[in-house]
């Protein structure tokens, strides 16, 4: 089977924020357990409040859920030429502008910052700008995530 090449014209493309992500307490607890995190601020509201947070605090990599939902818009775009079964995660970064806590409603705007041919495959760098919308309709930056994925070519 020959895989299609990744579309080189993806660079500079962006995908607007689609559905809202509601950060729930049980999701924070579930994600924390899944990464074997035991800090009480993920599980116990009083412990989170004692640290000055309004509600349960998400683990440092929780934003990947929101970022990968945004990435899915690109990966599932038939025009992208990305074969998900050949995707390997190469790099990841989270920059938190403020903590993510239960009750947040998050939006993610996706930007394709780079597409680079690598052998028969390609390295694609995406950036998700994750934000909340305040009562005055202004955006409040919550986190910026950047991901590089390697789409492996034949024999890679």
């Amino acid at each position: 089977m020959t895989s299609n090449p990744v579309n080189p014209n993806l660079q500079g493309r962006s995908y607007p924020a689609a559905e809202v992500y509601d950060v729930g307490r049980e999701k924070i607890r579930e994600f924390a357990r899944a990464v074997k995190a035991t800090h009480p601020a993920h599980f116990d509201i009083d412990a989170a409040r004692a640290l000055g947070h309004s509600d349960l605090v998400a683990p440092p990599t929780f934003a990947i859920i929101v970022a990968q939902r945004a990435d899915a818009q690109l990966i599932e775009d038939p025009d992208s030429g990305i074969d998900f079964s050949r995707v390997v995660h190469a790099e990841q970064r989270f920059t938190h502008h403020r903590p993510i806590v239960a009750g947040d409603q998050l939006h993610a705007e996706l930007h394709v910052d780079g597409v680079r041919a690598m052998g028969g495959g390609a390295m694609i760098t995406t950036r998700a700008e994750i934000f909340a919308v305040r009562e005055d309709n202004q955006r409040e930056s919550v986190a910026t995530t950047t991901s590089s994925i390697l789409v492996r070519g034949e024999g890679q």
């Binding site: 800090h39 640290l51 440092p60 990947i64 859920i65 990968q68 079964s85 995660h89 990841q92």
Partner: protein, 145 residues
């Protein structure tokens, strides 16, 4: 928070952690994160795409390694920046039905840099599996009091 920048020195160790991983842990992570790529839970699929077997999500390794930093900092929200490169896969063997782990990940952290102006410490993590580094340039920036 009790950590004070003035009391830290570059090169200081923050501790170590051992993370045992099973196939079930990968299924749990898939469900919690929404990343259902079958290379993380299906052996025949993983080998069909030229992988040596089922491998852990890079994000499982990254996400579990940072707990050392969250606990050291005293507040997970103090981790204001966290980055890594994924260099080697963590191969998780099928030990279902036994009490054995399918893989063991070792984590260590040292203070890599201090920024007195931003009041942050950069923690450099060393994350190994089977004697090889699986994460490179794994750095967490912690906001200090």
């Amino acid at each position: 928070m009790s950590l004070k920048l003035e009391e830290l020195t570059v090169g200081q160790e923050i501790g170590t952690a051992t993370i045992e991983v099973t196939r079930q842990d990968l299924v749990k992570y898939a469900g919690a994160s929404g990343d259902f790529n079958p290379i993380h839970w299906n052996e025949s699929f993983a080998t069909s795409v030229e992988l040596p077997g089922v491998i852990a999500h890079g994000m499982f390794t990254m996400g579990s390694a940072v707990q050392l930093v969250s606990d050291w900092a005293g507040d997970p929200a103090a981790v204001v920046d966290y980055q890594t490169r994924f260099t080697k896969p963590v191969l998780v063997t099928d030990t279902t039905g036994t009490s054995e782990p399918g893989a063991v990940i070792e984590v260590g952290g040292v203070v890599g840099a201090l920024d007195a102006e931003a009041r942050t410490a950069r923690i450099d993590l060393t994350v190994t599996f089977a004697g090889q580094k699986v994460l490179m340039k794994s750095q967490a920036v912690v906001k200090l009091a």
